[in-house]
Symmetry: C2
Subunit: 346 residues, 2 copies
Amino acid sequence: MQKKRVSIKDIAEATGVSHPTVSRALRSEGRMSDQTRTRILDAARTMGYTPSLVARGLVMQRTNTIGLVVTNFADPFHSEVARGVEDEAVLHQFSVYIASSKVDAKRELEVVRAFQGRQVDGIIVSSSRVGDQYADLLQETGVPIVLVNNHADGTNIYAVYHDDYTGAYTVAQHLIDCGYRRIAYLGNGRAGRANTERKRGWGDILRRAGLPAEVKVLGSNGRLQGGGAGVAPLLDEAKRLWNAWPDAIMCYNDTMAIGVLRELHGRGIQVPEDIALTGYDDIEISGYVQPPLTTWHQPRYELGREAMRMVLALLNSTDPDEVPNVVLLTGQLVVRASTIKKVSHS
Amino acid sequence: MQKKRVSIKDIAEATGVSHPTVSRALRSEGRMSDQTRTRILDAARTMGYTPSLVARGLVMQRTNTIGLVVTNFADPFHSEVARGVEDEAVLHQFSVYIASSKVDAKRELEVVRAFQGRQVDGIIVSSSRVGDQYADLLQETGVPIVLVNNHADGTNIYAVYHDDYTGAYTVAQHLIDCGYRRIAYLGNGRAGRANTERKRGWGDILRRAGLPAEVKVLGSNGRLQGGGAGVAPLLDEAKRLWNAWPDAIMCYNDTMAIGVLRELHGRGIQVPEDIALTGYDDIEISGYVQPPLTTWHQPRYELGREAMRMVLALLNSTDPDEVPNVVLLTGQLVVRASTIKKVSHS
DNA sequence: CTGTTAGCGCCTTCAC
DNA sequence: GTGAAGGCGCTAACAG
């Protein structure tokens, strides 16, 4: 099956020079007669030469390769992060290994270890559930590990964050400004830090406005199903504490909000007339559901790019201490119909 | 930055044996005294040894690595394919390189070439725009290339397909069974073969039922925006030919259908009362929009797994001719509210 | 059972 | 300007 690949030795033989010369010619390094250079390059082309990056990686101890760990391919958050990572990576001739952790800390570490066996030059972990444990790994192996929206606590590692607190704070403020007074929060029980921060932003602004920040429920996951399943307990809790439904539900993310939307629709509850609804992330589809979701635009693509940039900076700097180890990006409120009651022209 | 990694030589030195012995011990190959073996394994563990798969790849000419090319990370079709590929890959200790072609044939070929430089053992291309050109590449390099839902024509390559014709046929039949008579097709101008097949399935069943298969429009892409933008020309075309709106629109995929849904809603057109709507793929969200979409379940995860299985089969067989070079999977109709008018109890 | 030797394909000194 | 030698970390062949 495997054809023998042509190596620089083959080219050397064919052109009557030595392999080092071929190597230099191909990398346009060292001066040499234009004649031999073009002869070598021509031979390489006609013989169908492809340099072996494996061999090069071995000798250089640099593979121009990074490993990207996501929790789940299907999650629109990660796909955008991945896009950012890849775009930045190709600019620098890096290839990207990908693997999913399936939201399992043990698997996440296995995957990282596998990447290290592949001698990747850097590792990016999106929504890590392990977090600061990487500080040790980093010490051990010297392979830069950059986290995107680390879900664990601890800050002594390289990370690109989004400002979840401010985002949630702003969304909640928007709801208050719209006149909603019983604002519930539907969180994601598997999200760790991101969820804590968003809940904190929600709670702080509510209390500051003199509103009750009591009704909060943790969904079992951050997906459609988790959102839908969270509705019943949330309504129950509101009934119990307030003897009334919430007039607004703030969700951990857009995906859950869409799950909520269907559940509310099934119960004959109108959005936003009966209950307003907000998401978080601004995934593309959130503008296409009915009603379109008010949400917080999280710069997912940029998070990915910044993470890759940080890896590259770490790789190219002699003194890693001079590379800023945390980048904090912020997003933007996106107001759509799910929080804006139609004006009645009566 | 880079710590020196510990090699089998280091372990050999520390334990007073030769490196090949260490190598054998680690791979539990060849018999040796349990004593030395455990001594070596202990040393490896305490010294924090990680085998270099790069070096191994170089000598074995087998990297246990595959390259996966998708058109677009964000597309839910590809994320499921990727999941299937990865799950099967990890079972066999393969790592997965990923890259996106951005629906650009030139970029697709570049990416494949880059993978070959990395000496991947196999390549999987999802929704290729290049298709049979790979036959040559395969001949040249001997690296198996498996296509998932090849969008180009030609069949002389390894491929995993979904039966688009039957799927579209069945969806159209369902619409006819529901009593719809003016069934339009909104295609994807960038989809090639898949689109052709689905359109053919639609047209054949309509004609067989004595219905007009005239109103068809090609959207500019297979995304939300492409769906939304396709509505106006489609309605115009129907008006022109039939002097009436279609009573059903069959879309190339779910994503486009969701774009259509919003556009129809914006125009005050009810689904399915005024116009019924179908998607294709059965992406998760299609069950969550309002109304939930009738669609065709495409076994995306299985397509990915089968593709990876084919790569492995090709790798492990001495005679590639004995490996079936085409796998055809079929899907399943999923009926939801977007085609079923509520029964009126009058 | 274990050590010696060789080589995967490439790059980097160093001579010439 | 170019060639010769050595080595990256590992495995495969052969000795012993």
